[in-house]
């Protein structure tokens, strides 16, 4: 099978060459000493000038974290993490009130430029092609997170006019304490799981979005994350609350500099959708996956959960996961409101020694709730990729409906692809369908493409893109373009 051998060689060629975002920015950091204890948490809270209730909340999280053990059920393995050997706070050197672009450290701006993050409106729009026949697209607002502190937020004004709050969560704590206090931890409680508890104790920043009743957010909101300081775990906290009849589309994308030592990342994202509200949350994750021998790379242990509180509300997760050495991530939906809808679209690509254990949970509580899960997994090199998902229908969720499809594609014979769905149904009126397939790229498809003059690489690229299409088409257009690029980088050589 020469075609297979070629593909395998091509995948092996990837090596270190392909991580094009591998650079490091030298900016003075304001770093807390290593280690985690109540003093660290008090320090973080003090630095961020937080109210007393939040400090107490953090301490409660820390105390419950102390009683918890790292979860071991996921199909990933890594050397033990020394949580005392990490910095829990790092902020770019702070000038008083750097609220305009001119005041921002130029080095930082250059970093964003390298990343291709268009902070300026023009730059933002320049990279975006307009689909035929469409007038100007609504712009995107970016809340940029540089390590732990949000530095710049654009489009604040337009959003304010619409009544949308979009700001760093630390600012929200200061400016909208009641809102934050009401919703923070209401979807992911402080003691939810080991990593969520850790995050609750030490989170430094993240985004806060509030879309009031009936408002359709006038632009897509976007946060670019970037891990920068050595040995700094990043603990973002994102909270999105969308009131009755309102809607928002939120984009999250990340890159990280190349590095030798593993870095821990434990974010928490909470979404709340009230009656008739809708939230679309899209992620492109491209953190450093480690080199071809599996050294280095990010540990990405994320808790993402959305609550469809109101009737007919909708939460849709879309993710393209190409980076990180280890991914542990299960964006979930709690479908409480009658007729609420949860969606999960995922592409996970692993190569070299990457490990991904990702999937979703759909908890059907309300009547006539619906959920759709489409998960596409591509494994290459020596990597292992697992889809792990739960569909649970509670006794009162009559008329609940779930459809799940999980497809895995294996490239090379040293990788693994696994599917672990859990289906728990306690309502006779529910309908659940699950299907999963695992295969390699079929020789017939390859032959068909080659016969029509496509190179092996182009053919594989075409087939892989087709394989992921059901998910990629769910992404907002700007992200779809980036996602395809990332697929190329991750599977360069086998993807044209």
């Amino acid at each position: 099978m020469p075609a297979v051998t070629e593909t395998r060689e091509a995948v092996e060629k990837l090596g270190q060459s392909s991580y094009k975002w591998g650079f490091e920015t030298d900016i003075d950091m304001d770093v807390a000493p290593k280690g985690l204890n109540e003093d660290t948490i008090r320090l973080i809270s003090a630095r961020k000038e937080e109210p007393e209730w939040l400090l107490e909340w953090r301490l409660a999280a820390y105390r419950s974290w102390l009683t918890m053990k790292e979860p071991t059920w996921a199909k990933v393995s890594h050397p033990p993490i020394d949580y005392q050997d990490l910095h829990y706070y790092a902020a770019p050197k702070k000038k008083p009130g750097p609220k305009s672009l001119e005041e921002v450290d130029p080095e930082l701006l250059r970093t964003y430029e390298k990343l291709g993050i268009p902070l300026h409106e023009q730059a933002m729009l320049a990279g975006v092609e307009l689909p035929e026949g469409e007038t100007a697209r609504p712009p995107i607002a970016i809340d940029a997170v540089f390590d732990s502190v949000s530095v710049v937020t654009t489009f604040r004004k337009t959003l304010e006019e619409a009544g949308v709050i979009f700001c760093p969560i630390s600012e929200a704590v200061r400016d909208y304490p009641d809102l934050v206090r009401q919703y923070l931890g209401s979807v992911v409680p402080v003691g939810d799981n080991f990593y969520a508890a850790l995050n609750s104790a030490v989170f430094t920043d993240g985004s806060f979005v509030f879309v009031p009743k009936g408002v359709r957010c006038p632009m897509e909101l976007s946060t670019y994350f970037r891990i920068n300081a050595k040995n700094t775990g990043q603990f973002e906290r994102t909270l999105i609350v969308v009131e009755d009849g309102a809607s928002v589309s939120y984009l999250e994308g990340c890159t990280a500099p190349m590095r030798d030592e593993n870095q821990l990342h434990a974010a928490v994202v909470e979404l709340v959708a009230m009656e008739d509200a809708s939230i679309k949350y899209s992620t492109v994750q491209n953190w450093y996956p480690g080199d071809e021998n599996g050294r280095g790379g990010i540990y990405n242990f994320v808790t993402k959960r959305g609550a469809c509180r109101g009737a007919r509300s909708k939460i849709s997760w879309t993710q393209v996961e190409t980076g990180s050495a280890i991914t542990w991530k299960y964006p979930s939906c709690i479908l409480q409101g009658e007729g609420s809808v949860g969606e999960f679209y995922s592409v996970a690509v692993t190569n070299n020694h990457q490990q991904a254990d990702t999937g979703t949970k759909m908890i059907h509580i309300g009547r006539n709730t619906r959920s759709t899960i489409i998960a596409k997994t591509i494994s290459a090199g020596h990597s292992d990729s697992t889809y792990r998902g739960l569909v649970r229908v509670q006794p009162k969720a009559s008329g609940a409906r779930n459809f799940t499809q999980c497809d895995s594609l294996l490239i090379g014979d040293q990788c693994g692809a696994h599917t672990v769905p859990y289906i728990e149904n306690r309502n006779m009126g529910a309908r659940i369908e699950h299907e999963a397939t695992t295969s390699k790229i079929s020789e017939d498809q390859l032959f068909y493409c080659r016969q029509r003059g496509l190179s092996e690489e182009d053919a594989v690229g075409l087939i892989v893109n087709g394989f992921c299409r059901d998910v990629l088409k769910e992404l907002p257009m700007e992200f779809a373009v980036e996602a395809q690029k990332l697929l190329q980088i991750s599977l360069e050589g086998s993807v044209g």
Binding site: V4, T72, W73, P395, S408, L410, I411, G412, D413, Q414, C415, G416, A417, H418, T419, V420, P421, Y422, I423, E424, N425, R426, N427, M428, G429, A430, R431, I432, E433, H434, E435, A436, T437, T438, S439, K440
Partner: protein, 425 residues
């Protein structure tokens, strides 16, 4: 998945002193493993849906040597083993885990020995990993050991296990079936009984090259009984193990099958159906390991759940790195007839080879309203219409039983466990 490190021997209390003072090395090793693991609880991944609390409620003694012969006779009659087509087949009957010669008709073409005499443990089981198998290894007293010589077409053998007890007892038969090259056998296992007991059999199956074992298990245990059966099967080149399990009885039942496709072109079928009501819990768990290239596995399991019944399906297909050209298919479907019924399913694929074709599917739902309407609109009463649809649902699974005698038996037993058709309750 996570290892339990603390001493959990306390969960073994129902077995009292029965686990003490055993000297045989296999049994001692099994007890050692058991003291570490205890009986599994729901924190153990493999047991997350099936609780063994049922067992912890009463002590489980060793069964008495004496039982009510007339009752056993009646049970055999009830199972259709006294008259009719099954009555003429060779059979090995075990009562409370001990061989009952008086009720048995040994087969002519199969060499039969008994665990009570040989005390030989096979090599396929995993007492270190599977606590119920360790429990069996510790307490096994008897069991049938069938051996079919090379090339022999041995026809049918019935392996009947009856529980017949007034006290709470447990018995742990240890069976084995070996088919030499090119041999054939149809094995019908029947599990039934009366009274409160735990039936914890281990069956080791070895199918040599080009041999073919058809194995149908009818689980119709007593309504107060627990049946926790573990089967280990190994299949050699071009051999076939074709298994079907019909689960009808027991308060708690688990049919766990570990099938290993050990050489190229081996075939394994692990099919089954469950029809449960009241507060029954029925668990079908399987691990199919593709350890060689070019093998095929098929699995179709259908569940019908009424009352407060709970069905569990856990099916894992493991494809080793060397098992290229694997063809694996798995389907689990459940029909819920009552608001209080529950199904928990975990179909799992673990795949390390790239040139494979593996898929699984699962569906859960109620009876199709359109189909029901179709029948009602043609004058079929509601209850009868439901029966027709339930039968149709299960027939698709029963149709996978190749052996006609076994299929007829299963169909009859299934029909009996239905409420009377045509009567509006």
């Amino acid at each position: 998945m996570s290892a339990i490190t603390q001493d959990r021997s306390g969960t073994l209390a129902p077995f009292g002193a029965r686990l003490d003072g055993l000297t045989d090395s296999v049994r001692k090793a099994a007890i050692g493993a058991l003291h570490k693991s205890g009986l599994p609880d729901r924190r153990v991944e493999e047991w997350r849906y099936t609780s063994l609390r049922f067992l912890a409620e009463t002590p489980l003694a060793a069964p008495a040597d004496i039982y009510d012969v007339a009752q056993v006779q009646a049970q055999l009659e009830n199972l259709g083993l006294s008259t009719g087509p099954l009555a003429d087949l060779p059979r090995l009957v075990f009562v409370n885990g001990r061989y009952a010669e008086a009720f048995s008709v040994p087969p002519a073409d199969v060499e039969v020995s008994f665990f009570a005499k040989t005390q030989t443990f096979g090599t396929l089981s995993c007492p270190d990993r599977d606590p119920l198998t360790a429990l069996n290894a510790a307490l096994a007293t008897d069991g049938a050991q069938l051996h079919v010589p090379a090339g022999k077409k041995a026809g049918h053998v019935l392996l009947v296990s009856l529980g017949q007890t007034d006290a709470s007892v447990s018995f742990h038969p240890r069976h084995s079936v070996t088919l030499e090259e090119g041999a054939e056998l149809t094995l019908i296992s029947i599990q039934a009984g009366q009274g409160r007991y735990l039936h914890n059999p281990v069956l080791e199956i070895s199918v040599a090259a080009q041999a073919n074992l058809r194995h149908v298990t009818l689980q119709a245990e007593g309504q107060d009984a627990a049946c926790l059966a573990t089967t280990y099967a190994q299949v050699a080149e071009r051999g076939t193990y074709d298994s079907f399990v019909l689960g009808l009885g027991g308060a708690l039942s688990r049919q766990e099958i570990h099938a290993r496709l050990a050489a190229p072109f081996a075939i394994v079928h692990v099919n089954g159906a469950q029809m449960l009501g009241s507060r029954q819990i029925g668990d079908v768990t399987s691990v199919i390991t593709h350890a060689a290239p070019d093998c095929t596995s098929r699995q179709t399991v259908r569940n019908v759940l009424d009352g407060h019944a709970r069905g569990v399906f856990q099916g894992k297909v493991y494809v080793d790195r060397v098992a290229q050209k694997t063809d694996g298919y798995q389907m689990n479907q459940a029909l819920l007839l009552s608001e209080n019924a529950e199904i928990d399913a975990k179909p799992e694929l673990e795949i390390y080879a790239d040139d494979v074709k593996c898929s699984h599917g699962a569906t859960v739902g109620a009876l199709d309203e359109d189909q029901l309407f179709y029948l009602r609109s043609r004058g079929v009463p509601d209850a009868e219409a439901r029966q027709i649809l339930i039968h149709a649902f299960l027939d698709e699974a029963l149709g996978l039983i190749e052996d006609e005698t076994a299929r007829t038996l299963c169909t009859q037993m299934l029909a009996r466990s239905f409420p009377v058709a045509g009567e509006n309750a």
